[in-house]
Structures are given as C-alpha cells and as structure tokens.
C-alpha cells in the first residue's frame, strides 16, 4: 500500500512544509500592517508597577540614566518602550543621560534616533543642560562599577567630544549617587550588582521577551522593575499616553502567536490521527 498517495488532510497537517509556515507568517504580518486591527490591550501588573514607581520617584531636575546594552537587532521589540520611557521622563521634567556598553557602537545610533524623535523635538530641552549623550564605553561590568564610583574615570567628554566641564549637567554628576534611577535596555546584570545593590539606585530593565527569564530572579527578589518584550513595551506606551510604534505592532504579534499555537495544535492532532490509523492497520 502506498502511504504517500493516501495522505489525507490530517497527515498533511502533521507534516507541513516549513515554506508554508514562513509564507503564512509573512502574510499575517503584512495584512495586519496594511490593515491594523487595533486589537485591545490590557496593561499588566508588572508594567503598572514600573510606571507607578517612575511617576512617584522622579521629580523635576532629577537625573536619570538610560543605558543601552543591546544593538539594532532587538529594537522592534524594545524601541517602543525606550521612546515611551524617554517621553515619560520628559513629562516629569527629569534630566536624561544616555550611555551604551553594547559591544558595537551601533547602539549610539539608537540613542540618536531616540533623541531625534523625543528630546530634540522639544525646545524646552537643551542639550548639555537637560540631556546628554555620552555614547559608548568599553569594559562591561568593570566600567559600570567605575561609573558608579567616579563617572569621570570612564567619561571625560560626551559622544561629540565636548569636555565634561562644558556640559552644565555635569556639575551635578559625580557617580551613581547623582542619579535617581537607571533604565537599562539589555542583559547587563552589573547594573544590579553595582548600582542597585552597591549604591541603592533603583534599576529598571527592558529587554526582548526571549531573554526575560535571565532577569526574572532579580525581579522576583525585588531588585529591579521589568518590562519584558513587545507586549509590555506597548503597555508602557499606553500608560504614557503618547502613540508610538508599540501598540500597532501588537496586532501582528498577537496574530502571529495565535497562528503558531494553531499550527502546533493542528500538527499534534494530525500526528495523533496518523498514530491511531497506524495502530488500526
């Protein structure tokens, strides 16, 4: 008996060609980009915690450090949160310092994009006084520790070459004690070790959903506030109340997840049917 010739729909579901899956995902993303469904989004407790903390903790003129520990790749997931956070801090009239310890200086381009879309659009925020981009540092955890104890050991000038003495904001920055909080986008746990546990500076973390399990022990221990993946970044966007790229992106993420779950379930049903048929034969 030729089994290949007698393949029914269940057999096919249990053994779908990967190209069909790829094209289906592309189609789902394309359709939801062209025709946004505006699926409703609920805000989870973890995001409310982070938002409420920032809302209460940050006062006008407080200095907040935004550090990027990741490059351009994960930005579709993390950029919405990054923009929303910067806008939130601007509304609270905080002063913002940007740095990046990512292995490649491409993260500086992300910082530029964030500043272009937020701070540089508002004339009330003056570069050097209300915000500054220190750019890229090397040395990973060691540099983060040095930043905590003496900022000038790592940065003597900003990314554009302006010496610290000519940046008004630097009158108030010596080390970790000068900052109200750190917002880290990435996987670098040295921020918790040296800034939160060492200097008692609150740390908030945003990263890809894929890498969130790495941060969970720190979140469960109360060491950090956490925004995990595209969904929670979009939720922060909703709380800040300024439309951004996160909420529309949730359409295709939701549909994509449902599709994957659907094919996995159907694939399993196909397998079970095939198994039962073999047993009957």
């Amino acid at each position: 008996m030729n089994l290949t010739a007698s393949k029914n729909i269940w057999d096919k579901l249990g053994d779908l060609d990967r190209r069909i899956l790829f094209w289906a995902v592309v189609l789902i993303i394309a359709v939801s980009l062209i025709h946004p469904l505006r699926l409703p989004i609920t805000v989870s407790e973890r995001v409310k915690e982070a938002y409420n903390f920032v809302e209460k903790a940050v006062k006008p003129n407080d200095i907040v450090l935004i550090d990027l520990g990741t490059g351009l790749g994960p930005m579709p997931e993390t950029m919405p949160g990054l923009l929303a956070i910067t806008r939130h801090l601007m509304r609270l009239q905080a002063r913002i310092v940007f740095t990046t310890g990512y292995v490649s200086p491409e993260a500086v381009v992300v910082i530029e994009e964030v500043m272009d879309k937020t701070l540089r659009k508002d004339p009330k925020f003056v570069y050097g006084e209300h915000y500054v981009n220190f750019g890229w540092y090397t040395g990973g955890g060691t540099a983060i520790r040095r930043l905590a104890s003496n900022w000038k050991d790592v940065f003597t000038r900003d990314w554009y070459g302006t010496p610290n003495e000519k940046l008004p904001i630097m009158k108030d920055i010596t080390g970790a004690d000068s900052f109200r909080l750190v917002w880290h986008v990435g996987p670098e746990t040295a921020w918790v070790t040296y800034w939160k546990l060492g200097k008692r500076v609150p740390v908030l973390v945003t990263y890809m959903a894929l890498n969130i399990p790495t941060w969970l022990p720190y979140y469960a221990a109360g060491d950090i506030y956490l925004l995990g993946g595209q969904r929670e970044n979009a939720e922060y966007e909703i709380l800040v109340g300024v439309p951004g790229p996160g909420v529309p992106a949730m359409d295709y993420q939701s549909l994509g997840h449902l599709f994957v779950l659907g094919v996995v379930v159907l694939g399993n049903l196909g397998n079970i049917r095939r198994k039962l048929r073999r047993e009957q034969q």
Binding site: V25, V109, T138, W159, Y160, L216, R231, L261, V263, G267
Partner: protein, 214 residues
Amino acid sequence: MRFIRRDLPYTILVVFGTLALLSYYVAIPAIEAVAGTSRTWVVVIGAFAVFLGALNVIRTHAVRAYQKKENWWLSVWLVFIYFSMVIAGLLAGTGSAQYKWMYAAMYTPLAQGVVGTLGLFLVSAAYRAFKIRTSESLVFFLGFFLIAVRQASIGPLLWPGFEIIGNWVTLWPSTGTMRAVTIGLAIGTVALALRTLARYEKIGLEEGGIVGGG
C-alpha cells in the same frame, strides 16, 4: 621568552585578580584605591582591544582577498563598507545626517532582518519541537502554550485566566529554574576565578600545552 610570554602575564593576572577579589571583602583604602585604578585601566584596555580587533578584521579580510580564497569578493566588500563607515564618521561626524543615513538605510534593515528571520525559523522549530510524543513533551508544550498566549495581548482578552496562569508559570517554575542556573553560574565563575588565580586553568597564554600545577 617563557617569562615574557607566560610567567609575566600570569603574575599580572594573579596580582590584579587577587586585588580585585580582596577589594570586595576587605575594607582597606589602599587596596580599594589600587583595585579602583586597575578597573579604570580595564576600561582603557577594553578600548584598545576594540581597536586591535578592528585592525585584525581588516588584516584577515585583506589577506583573504589578496589570496583570492573562496568568496574573496565578500572580504573586499567588507573592507569597502568598513572604510566607508569610518570615513563618513571621521569627515561628517557620527551625529551627522550622512552617517545616520548609512546606519538607518543600510545597517538597520540588515540587523533587524537577521533577527526577524530568526522569528520565522522559531515558528518552524516550534511546529516540529512541540509534537507531543511523551509526557515530558506534553509539559514542554503546555509551558510554551501558556507563555505564548500570555505574551500576546490578545490572550488575556480571550480568557483572563491566561494572564494569571501565564504569570504563575513565569514567576514560579521559570524564575525558580533561572535562579538555580544563575546561582550555579555564579558559583562556577567563582570556582573558575580561583582555579585561574591558582594557575590550574588554561587561559590561552600557551601554545598547545596545559598550564598549571595539575
């Protein structure tokens, strides 16, 4: 020669490693000052290492292109793009529109395309990996199902229980497992550091030979 290539680097490693370790546990200002200065050196050495890395990339690919090894034209392309970025950064500045355009129009779509392609492969991998054949694979599938539904904003709208159960999986089994991994890694790192300081570990200073007291 052996002293320069092997013993001196080890001596530096042992001295500064011990100082760095001591500065965590002993509150002696002199030790903290020396350890602090050495940490600043790490930052400077890190910057030099990046420069050396860049030189090495250029050298490797220039040699590949010169010797016309397989796909040598890709090496030529790499060197061309490398210098294009360097020249644009030096002449126009890294905050300039030209430099930002090169990143936004050339590098960003490629970098995000690579991560996006990973998503497609994950779909295919999920389809194949989550076939329930044993009780263990059923647990594996359930974990995937609950987290995938929870991470999609539509999940809690379909049934609020998805949020509660998804959070439970995240906060208890997942966190517990990661905590064990994190603690295990930390203990392993301490053990590795101690073995390295005691010269029981091979750290790449020697050619082919095993170093240490054994």
